[in-house]
């Protein structure tokens, strides 16, 4: 009995030690911050595009006679802990607030004063989202998540104006950016959050009959308001619709497991690329698809991305 108990306690101690080692290795192994810098640029471009579109309808959504009045938005959020600088902006300063926001988002994109501009960008993203709850969708959720993590991590340490200025201060000494624990930590936050998004997206579909009987993809692709390519030819191939529905479900549910199997990771990322491009092409949800792919980019090998960036940005083309 004592021997058995001893074995159990040794097993538990080994398990605790292995878990601690695994946890530390997962979160605190330093990596090259170039991939994080690349994700910052891609997220920044998406932010600039998204907010440029808001600029086309600024008066309709953020002005005094907007679709949802400021009062109604406040009433809607009365039991929530939300904030938006738009609550403080008088009608005559709407364009000024917008121009300032775009300027800060541009600084963030190019990586200028990134420590500050990333935090301000997060405040801008949240403020815009909390002013227009009537027009939000998946794009806003994912871009908000990415901006949050980029504001937490050292997203301006590489592939940025900040890093270029720092190298100039060192008299043009182009030393490689040192590996960073914080960069890895940030990439891991994005990794885990992406896994949760796919898992929850899949699990929530399991509550619907249409995802079980395979009709769901027809309800999506046959929806006139979302259709950007005529897919009604699929009505003559119902088995294809059923397979597409079940494949989508399998992909969403299995992403969070298969992405961690090294040999399968390229395959899972390729699958994500194909499916998101198909969502963009068939349903017109290009911005959502692209921002999900930016999130998926956090699973790329940081060292490989760093080498590629060095080769592309080297004055002699990496020669």
């Amino acid at each position: 009995m004592r021997r058995a108990l001893g074995q159990v306690s040794r097993y538990l101690a080994n398990l605790a030690r292995a878990s601690a080692r695994g946890w530390n290795s997962f979160w605190y192994t330093p990596v090259d911050p170039s991939l994080l810098g690349l994700i910052r640029i891609l997220t920044g471009v998406m932010l600039l595009y998204n907010h440029a579109i808001w600029g086309m309808v600024l008066k309709d959504f953020f002005g005094p006679d907007s679709w949802l009045s400021q009062d109604l938005v406040a009433q809607l959020f009365r039991s929530q802990y939300v904030y938006s600088f738009w609550q403080l902006v008088p009608a005559r300063w709407v364009w000024l607030a917008y121009a300032l926001s775009m300027t800060i988002l541009f600084w963030f994109t190019i990586g200028l004063w990134t420590r500050i501009s990333s935090i301000l960008s997060l405040a801008i993203v949240i403020s815009f989202a909390h002013r227009v709850p009537e027009a939000l969708f998946g794009l806003d959720k994912v871009i908000g998540m990415l901006t949050l993590y980029l504001a937490i991590g050292p997203s301006g340490r590489a592939v940025s104006v900040d890093s270029w200025l720092a190298s100039r201060r060192r008299a043009g000494d182009r030393q490689p950016t040192p590996p960073s624990v914080a960069a890895n930590f940030t990439l891991r936050l994005i990794n885990i959050h992406m896994c949760i998004i796919y898992l929850v997206a899949g699990l929530s579909k399991l509550q619907g009959t249409a995802w079980w009987n395979g009709q769901a993809m027809w309800m999506v692709l046959g929806n006139l308001e979302y259709q950007s390519i005529d897919m009604t030819w699929l009505a003559w191939h119902p088995w294809l619709i059923e397979l597409l529905s079940h494949f989508t479900l399998f992909w969403e549910l299995s992403f969070c497991v298969l992405i961690w199997v090294p040999i399968l990771r390229p395959l899972v990322l390729f699958e994500s690329l194909v499916l998101h491009l198909a969502i963009g092409a068939c349903m017109g949800l290009w911005t959502f698809s692209l921002v999900m792919l930016i999130g998926c980019a956090s699973f790329l090998p940081p060292d490989g991305v760093a080498r590629l960036i060095t080769r592309l940005t080297s004055p002699r083309g990496g020669a």
Binding site: R21, N24, S25, W27, Y28, T29, P30, N50, I53, V57, D60, D65, W67, S69, L72, L76, Y81, V82, V125, I126, P133, E134, A135, F137, G138, L139, K141, G144, M145, I152, P178, P179, S180, V181, A182, F185, H193, I196, V200, S204, L206, Q207, A210, A216, W218, M219, G222, N223, L224, E225, Y226, S228, T232, A235, W236, I241, G284, L285, W286, T287
Partner: protein, 195 residues
């Protein structure tokens, strides 16, 4: 944020990452580890609060939702779930003081670029999931916006639910925009001089 010293010591390896950090770094790591666990518990609570919800998820949501609200993380990520729903559209007829009429549909399929079209589609899509207590104020706010936009004295609103055409009907020659696929709900007339 700098999780436990952001710069790597020379020739760092995963094993050495946890080998001998000093007390300050260890303490910082424990705080960060705790935050990671709480943060992702909160994300899962936000996802779990949608749909059939056990009591412990409700308790977790009660605890975390100020944090989630403030960081704009209070999302369910339930895309086209539990099932893809029919689209919601809105027809409007704005009457100007001179009697002229401006009619339109939200969303207008001619709107470009695509993201702007998506935003206007969402204006009506959200009506489908709106709590009843806000429904009337929501319509009134849209009506007021249309009044100002078109300089109208009154606006008539009609809500349309557009159901997807079953595959069998498409095979038999049915079109996705067939009038039979729409269900109308007359929301009535809104005077533009209402407070």
């Amino acid at each position: 944020m700098n999780p436990a010293g952001s710069e790597a010591p020379p020739q760092h390896s995963p094993q050495s990452a946890g080998a001998g950090p000093n007390l300050r770094v260890r303490l910082l790591r424990w705080c960060i580890n705790l935050w990671v666990v709480l943060h992702f518990s909160a994300i899962l609570a936000a996802a779990g609060i949608i749909g059939p919800t056990p009591g412990y998820v409700v308790a977790a949501w009660d605890l975390f939702h100020p944090y989630l609200d403030a960081l704009f993380l209070n999302h369910g990520y339930a895309f086209f779930a539990p099932e893809p729903s029919p689209s919601m559209l809105m027809d409007f007829a704005a009457t100007r003081p001179d009697g002229s009429l401006v009619q339109g549909r939200i969303p207008d399929p001619r709107v470009r670029p695509g993201l702007l079209y998506q935003r206007t589609l969402l204006l009506t899509e959200h009506i489908g999931v709106l709590p009843d207590e806000f429904r009337e104020d929501w319509y009134r706010s849209y009506a007021r916006h249309l009044c100002r936009k078109y300089g109208a004295s009154k606006v008539h609103l009609t809500l349309l639910t557009h159901f997807p055409m079953p595959m069998e009907m498409v095979r038999n020659g049915g079109k996705l925009d067939s009038p039979r696929s729409y269900r109308k709900l007359d929301l009535g007339e809104y005077a533009c001089d209402e407070p």
